[in-house]
Amino acid sequence: MKNMITIFLKEMKEVLRDRRTLILMIVMPLLLFPVIINVTTTFMMKLEKGAEEKILKVSVLLNGNKPGFEQKIRERKDMSIEEEVVENKIKNLITLKKLDFAVVFDKNFDNQVETMEPADVRLYYRSSAEMDISKRRIDKLLKKHGEELLNERFARLDIDKKVINTLNIEMNDIATVKEKFGERAGGLLPYMFVIFCFIGAMYPAIDLGAGEKERGTIETLLVSPASRFQIVMGKFWVVTAAGIISALLSVTGLFVSIKMNTQIPGEILQVILKIIDIKSISVIFSLLFPLSIFFAGLLLSFSLYAHSFKEAQSIITPLNFAIIIPAFIGTLPGIKLDTVTAMIPVLNVSLASKEIISGTIKAGLLIEVYASLIALAGLSLYFCVKWFNRESVIFRAE
């Protein structure tokens, strides 16, 4: 035990002095969420504000119809009318950004209104993230104009407007905000944790296995009184800890970025913080612990097999996909945690985390996920120890 702790402490010290590992294990997980959240919210807020405050250049081609709609545009301070535009130039003017919207009333518009037919209106615009936000203002005006015409029709026909409502449906969605959040965004969080757990463990595993072989330090360690079991366990727990630290820092980064973000409205912030509560996060982390052990055993075994850092990287890099794919599948809507998916590593963590965040996890399935992960972690650890004891692995011929 003493030797194992000595090896663990020394390996941890070395890992924490490696710049590459520090970036992947600490800096990236800690900063990624704050950077993503701050950059995206700042960008979105700026875009929204810009689109909402922009004075839209609108052209209304009445084609001989009544100027009712045009009058509505003229009354608005956030829109300006562009005069003397002809319909065949509209597309060109919009492309050149000399015009934002053109509302063209069909020459038969008034007749169609009069004869109570659907009246034709053509709306020209160029969609983009910004313009789609601005378009809401035009849509609102058109909707309002349409409602006024509809009210006129009902009045002319002397019909109560209520007759068009055949069903009076009262919607009672009993899904809580927590459930809805869990369903939509719940999959994304564990996806990030799982990925960081793997990436954080990756470089320490390569360094402590293949790196040690490449540097020629493995021989000196093997002739020390530490047994092979103690050596591999000392390394193993460093790799496991690296994965857990990385995942933990990613959660810390997420919490800090949400709490510090002043652009998130207060009530939404309260809802988010209530949903991602300590209890849910703790349960998710209890799943990540056996998963980290599984990753550590897997990564260290591959690393010990390799001759060099480079070879280990080329063996381990494709493993990223084996982790990302099931983690990603877990984020897809419709994929549920059941007795089968609860047995599939990574996918089960992703799906279980989603349901933990939603508050809909069933105890039986959670136990199955734990059982599956603990069994895999045990197997991975057993394999890693066995692997390290094989002469053909440690002194593998090239």
Partner: protein
């Protein structure tokens, strides 16, 4: 004391090695790296394992150091069997090779402390041994610098300190001067002599004839995993049929192949 009794060791060849060694229709999957080797190294004497590359020198030394297990036969180091008490064997040996690596992100102080902890040295013994070795090898001036930033000569000194920090009874040197410059090689030669003078059992492997002549008390010549000569080095020299040690080595090895 090291007692090696009738040890054998064969290795499975990698596919690349199998292709290289393919001999017509016969497919060679294994290589007999060590073939019925026996010898004895006594305290206060330097035992030299001489042989060309691939003769099996490193494999024998790794078996003595418990890194590899013999397929059959037995090895005793300082009275402990390598198969039954590998931990005890390792407590009593120091192992140094020319390609021994160091932990670049640690300082010499940290590295030596790490190995002292693995050897369960008491604080008092550690301080005493460290002071003695660091003073002898002039390590103190760079003891707190990262090993990665040291010159190759400084690194070799740290390697020596790591090998001797627990004051082992048996010291194994596997081609210890490979890749080293003349000055650093001289330090190693001096170290091997010092170990002998301190009454330690010393075994070292080499293919450099000059080192054989300078250091050997006892000699075993290895070829294709077999010992083709074993005995006192003075006797070897007096019984030589060739003019130089190198010629005699070639004659002995040539006769064996």
């Amino acid at each position: 004391m090291i007692e090696v009794n009738n040890i054998y060791k064969k290795f499975k060849l990698s596919r690349k090695q199998q292709r290289e060694k393919e001999n017509g229709k016969t497919k060679i999957k294994f290589i007999q790296s060590v073939d019925d080797v026996s010898f004895k190294c006594t305290p206060g004497r330097i035992f030299t394992l001489l042989g060309p590359n691939g003769a099996g020198k490193t494999t024998i030394l790794r078996m003595i150091a418990t890194m590899l297990a013999p397929d059959s036969g037995s090895i005793k180091v300082a009275g402990f069997d390598t198969g039954k008490q590998p931990g005890k064997v390792r407590e009593n040996i120091g192992f140094l090779t020319g390609t021994t690596g160091l932990y670049a992100r640690l300082t010499p102080n940290e590295m030596i402390k790490y190995y002292a902890d693995l050897y369960s040295l008491s604080k008092k013994d550690f301080e005493k041994n460290k002071d003695s070795i660091f003073n002898t090898l002039d390590i103190n001036e760079f003891a707190n610098r990262k090993i990665g930033k040291l010159s190759s000569g400084m690194k070799q000194k740290v390697s020596i300190a790591r090998t001797l920090i627990h004051n082992p009874d048996v010291v194994i040197f596997d081609e210890p001067t490979t890749g080293l410059d003349v000055l650093t090689s001289r330090n190693i030669i001096k170290l091997i002599r010092d170990c002998r003078n301190q009454g330690k059992t010393v075994i070292f492997s080499t293919h450099i004839m000059g080192e054989v002549n300078m250091l050997s008390d006892d000699l075993a010549i290895l070829h294709n995993g077999k010992i083709v000569y074993s005995g006192n080095f003075e006797s070897f020299k007096s019984e030589m049929r060739s003019k130089t040690i190198e010629d005699e080595f070639v004659r002995v090895v040539g006769g064996a192949s």
